[in-house]
């Protein structure tokens, strides 16, 4: 389906602020809300109109969580239409499959290879899907797997997975390094700035740019 944003992309018209839709998905407690705030704020500093939407409440209790970030000259809906997320950042492997409707052939999917068993898998009633990447590739060609948990372990802090993944997306966005650092310093506690800067930079190595 064509949307206002995909039509613009298809036309290939290089406006100064081409629309960028980013969907972040994962599990409550993974730090998706902080990652969303960092990315949204950086896009604001880069001169975009930005809307970001997430659902609180029940989702914090280990449920599936999604956050929509939309940037452009002027953003209307806070929710991304189906088939139009330029980027999907999946904090957990199978969660990417839950939101397949949002991506399209030209999407870039950044996939944390971490697996968190849903209750039905933990209790042995269901199987964790073995073919996540293959299923995503049926719709979007560009799938990049990021071993964020391993990197976090190397860095000695398992809590920085979200900042590693933020870095992995960051390198794809038209936002300067200076802006990213300013945003990070505003949104992470000062005493954790050093580890988070390292995490962000390790994440950036997974970007194309």
């Amino acid at each position: 389906m064509k949307t206002a944003s995909t039509e613009k992309k298809a036309a290939g018209k290089a406006t100064s602020k081409e629309p960028i839709d980013i969907l972040i998905v994962g599990v409550g407690g993974q730090g998706i809300i902080l990652a969303s705030r960092i990315i949204s704020q950086a896009l604001v500093y880069a001169g975009y109109d930005v809307k970001q939407s997430e659902v609180h409440g029940m989702a914090q209790r280990g449920g599936a969580v999604s956050s929509h970030i939309r940037a452009g000259e002027k953003v209307y809906s806070p929710l991304i239409p189906y088939d139009s997320a330029r980027y999907m950042l999946s904090f957990e492997s199978l969660e990417a499959l839950r939101y397949m409707s949002y991506i399209y052939a030209g999407s870039t999917v950044l996939l944390n290879d971490q697996k968190i068993d849903p209750p039905s898998v933990a209790s042995g009633q269901q199987q964790y899907p073995p073919d996540v990447i293959e299923r995503i590739k049926k719709k979007a060609k560009d799938v990049r797997v990021i071993p964020a948990a391993d990197v976090a372990f190397e860095l000695g802090n398992e809590r920085v997975v979200n900042v590693i993944l933020t870095g992995a997306l960051a390198g794809n966005l038209p936002v300067s390094r200076k802006i990213w650092m300013k945003t990070l310093s505003e949104l992470v506690p000062a005493k954790l700035m050093e580890i988070n800067t390292k995490a962000f930079e390790r994440g950036m190595q997974f970007s194309n740019r």
Binding site: R37, V50, Q52, G57, P78, P81, R135, K139
Partner: protein, 577 residues
Amino acid sequence: MKQLLTGNEAIARGAWEAGVCFASAYPGTPSTEITEAIAGYGEVNAEWAPNEKVALEVGIGAALGGVRTLVCMKHVGLNVAADPFCTLSYTGISAGLVLICADDPAMHSSQNEQDNRYYARLAKVPMLEPSTSQEAKDFVKLAFEMSEKFDTPVMVRVTTRISHSRGIVELKPRKSLARKVFKPDPKKYVMVPSNARMRHRVVVERQKNIAEYGEKSPINAIEPGKGDIGVVSAGVAYQYAREVFPQAHFLKIGLSNPLPKEMVRKFAKGKKKIYVVEELEPFMEEQIAAMGIAVEGKSRLPEIDELNPDVVRDGFVKKRKPHKADVVEGLPNRPPNLCPGCPHRGLFSAIKPLKLVIFGDIGCYTLSVLPPLSTHDSCVCMGASIGMSHGYSKVGGNTTQKSVGVLGDSTFMHSGLTGVMEMAYNKGSNTVIILDNRTTAMTGGQNHPGTARTLKGEDTVSLNLEEVCRALGVKRVFRVNPFEVKATREVVKREVSIEEPSVVISTAPCPLIFKVKSAPLAVDADKCKECGACLKINCPALTKRGEKAFIVDYLCNGCGVCGQICPFDAIGVPASK
């Protein structure tokens, strides 16, 4: 200065800029963060009230006391506050009073998705519906102006997608206002029938004046476009519609009660089709149709769930065909769950073997309805557990299957006291279990009258649950530790068998809010007989490795409930640690 703010933060900012000095609320998703944000402003005295009715009553008093006042609640909270709300419309205010009502279409965290726009019509109160964070701020400020101009409470209705979406907001300075002095005026404020009859006339006249205001105010705006289709919309639905109909003519409604009917008529003139795009009920559509204008709305859009650009497009333009990769059948669900170390897991593990009928309530504990824990038989509204359990036992339900009412400490303060009073007064024989985790957990850990802390972080008195229950007439009141599974089970088992009303207070702090954590436990694989008993308590830290139970150590809170459930003593603190 510009800032990225959630709708809730923008509402708080708008109230602060409008010179608000007082705010009151009871927490409820998606409205909670408004009051938390406004409490952060030094000039504002903000309070958590025990429930929404009290919050509004306190707000009325503050407005009569002469300062601009904000009262916030979720949609079902207005059911609780409906009594003062509908008569407040008659008395009017002194200083401005704005009621924020946050609806939850799609029930992200609610028990129903009622459309509270009807409350504005019911009470004959003007209602504003912002569609962005910027508007949330601006509309709240306008609401205070309108409140004082027309001597009325004003309702600002938002939805989850406004409350919890961030957008860019331009910040302005605070308006400083002198406190008004209360002028006694019994004809206006004392609603005995003779006065109320007069005031109802005033209200009807006021609504006419506000309708006229709405015809001229830029809050409602015709946005000319191309073609012969006109779209009428308000709130976040307007943003979805804008995206789907980028070229169409729009009538953007900001003041949706009373509707600007002349403007609607003018807008509809010469258009081939008028579409009304609104979430949930056909609130505007029915009023416009009643004016004799042909409209399409709910024939194309669902009356349930929330809208998004795709639902609007499916209804009005073309139905989307899903990609074959979109359909992911059999994907394991990831429902919200009680946290590792949650004391509710201990309590429900204790009472599950008693096979009770469990009348539940509104709070985290309702999550225990999910399999495999499966320990809830009802959930209706705040405080309902006690009355329902009493009614069930009164008609003999307890002769075949014993029942209990189960509710949290904050919910008990909200509307459990009258239930206990009822049970004692009417010679009930049932048992109430208060899950006392020392906070309002489901909404993120707010203080309440039992936590000894105010919203502003000051020390205060703490309601004593045992003394209150005794004072209400219950003689059998006991406190248990839910992490002692067997002992808790014995107390509940004994109490449900005694033909007298009783209250069991199950006390342990919420580990999420109070950051309680002990050393993680482990399964001794040699002792594990693969019976699966531990997995039935639905702890996120418990899983299977092969056929054996396995504890994911970084998730484990060390609460020890699984170890007490295990019949083979296979779970404990690992020897190496």
